[in-house]
Symmetry: C2
């Protein structure tokens, strides 16, 4: 393993992105997103993704010099055109517009379009909760998950992020796929020769299996079966047709086998609890729920681990596999 300070890891990512056709603004934004993940010890959304970012730009699919623009579509709806770049730079611009629009209207939506969202979703919702807002975010991906009753992949693993502001504590945040397992978890199980739970997916014949290779040839399943599939379908509609963006299977067709990251959209909804009738009480009221959860042995709040790691990594730095470090060096 190679140990890197967060600062050095950030510089490495920026340098690599610049060497692969990104301009300063896009490289900084994408690297910043990877560092948020690394800082929380969520390596699967960190430098691990850098080669994928680079391949996206190198194949010409991703615009490394994107200049995202915003447009007000309705009093409470803002659209961000990502100009074909990676999501983080556009989200940065869209965030401020969404906060302002939400404070004015009580609830507002940001339709993020024409971009490549290949990062975790918690940063965008957490950041809104840092502003005192409640937030939800939805994005589609590639067709990996079978519809209820079917056996062929159609929906993305379609994550949903949620955040709620807390009193004297970091926000309550979760970010979970609609599928029983993340795509990457199944790929890693296949690589390492491990089995997966039989709720994870089915083979091409529609039969349940614990062999990750068979799931990768077949289809993943929604979490909790048909209910997770319903959520995946909902997210297809919200991040696709609602905002004029790709369904997961359209995104795969657009990629046309090049193997780059999925192009598509994201819907972010923010609500200002101060405009919902309990401006004085909502924060303390939320804390009553969290207290009741934590009073039970064995519980923790979603996202809690990340906030603990986040305090440590500025001192300890992070570790990445030698192979990844070498790959990155080879990209420059």
């Amino acid at each position: 393993m190679v140990n890197l300070s967060l600062k050095d890891a950030h510089s490495l990512a920026v340098k690599c992105l610049l060497a692969n056709g990104c301009d300063e603004a896009n490289a900084e934004a994408a690297a910043g997103r990877m560092m948020q993940a690394e800082g929380d010890l969520c390596a699967s959304h960190g430098l691990f993704r850098l080669p994928w970012y680079c391949s996206g730009v190198n194949s010409g699919r991703v615009n490394g010099k994107a200049k995202p623009t915003i447009e007000q579509l309705a009093p409470a709806v803002v659209r961000l055109d990502g100009d074909g770049g990676f999501a983080p730079l556009g989200q940065e611009i869209g965030h401020h517009a969404l906060v302002e629009c939400t404070r004015q209207n009580g609830i507002a939506a940001l339709a993020v379009t024409n971009m490549f969202h290949i990062a975790a979703m918690w940063p965008e919702v957490e950041r809104l909760a840092d502003e005192g807002l409640c937030a939800m975010a939805f994005t589609a991906s590639y067709p990996y998950v079978a519809p209820a009753g079917g056996i062929k992949p159609l929906f993305g693993t379609n994550p949903m992020g949620f955040a709620w502001p807390r009193k004297d504590a970091p926000p309550l945040v979760f970010d979970q796929a609609s599928s029983a397992m993340a795509r990457g978890e199944i790929q890693i199980a296949a690589r390492d020769g491990h089995s997966v739970p039989e709720t994870a997916g089915i083979g091409p014949d529609g039969e349940t299996t614990t062999d990750p290779n068979v799931v990768l040839e077949g289809a993943q399943l929604g979490f909790g079966g048909y209910k997770g599939a319903s959520l995946a379908m909902m997210i297809e509609l919200l991040a696709g047709p609602l905002i004029g963006e790709f369904l997961s299977y359209e995104s795969a067709a657009d990629d046309a086998g090049k193997g780059g990251p999925p192009k598509g959209g994201e819907l972010i909804i923010a609500l200002d609890p101060a405009k919902f009738g309990d401006a004085e009480g909502f924060l303390a009221h939320g804390e009553k729920l969290f207290k009741a959860i934590l009073e039970q042995e064995g519980t923790r709040l979603p996202g809690a681990r990340r906030f603990i790691e986040r305090k440590k990594t500025p001192q300890t730095g992070i570790e990445i596999p030698d192979s990844l470090y070498d790959t990155i060096q080879g990209l420059m």
Copy 2:
């Protein structure tokens, strides 16, 4: 079984509610809701609930003569004060305000407060989709579901409803609990001596079980485990602290063992796809997804069965058990 025409069933429900302290407007709205369920052959939300409605009014907890009022809290936020009555009358008033507010702003929220929501959720979202809007609804209930890692009930079974308008077809609608099973399904399994899947819940000792009686003494689990529990927690926040209403455990404390329906709130979010940048294309685009789902053998769209039944029941009428019919007669 007693066979009733929908019209006679409606009259029966209205008469019973009037005899138990509801005024005409409240009785008509509540009966109308039960008839929507009966007409779709969802008996568990139909006349089956009438004795519960009556007991709520009789115990003095529910205001059978509620006069719901609406208030604009922000440009895109409307609050409905249910005046302590059953939800359907307030929802009727709130619906029109929400539609207007959504068309103006692109997205809007209706905070339904101070009411008793003991019906299915699909009617409110389906009705919004009938207006061409996309809709989501969330409500809490009583503490039945354990938080992730815990063993004591804290969250409600907390359903979420979703609807999407379709082209030349009834809306796409789903309405699903955050728990693996509905409360009523477990109660019915206990009554009939059937077992439940071991994903349904745990006993008071925290061990999984297939005995519904043990689950009823212990706690239900979220669908798909911790992910469903995350959704249940989210819905507690949206239908509770966000809008200044009860958490599920506060609702149980308010009931104080009387055994009536839960008092609380509901959040409804509506989005106008015509204001999200693809007014011309969103309907046809959604249909592409539905076509891709239905091309797979064994699939159907959520809610499809209900629309089929709905065409039949005006001719066939409905059937209710003799015991329920006798109970209702005894209430008048």
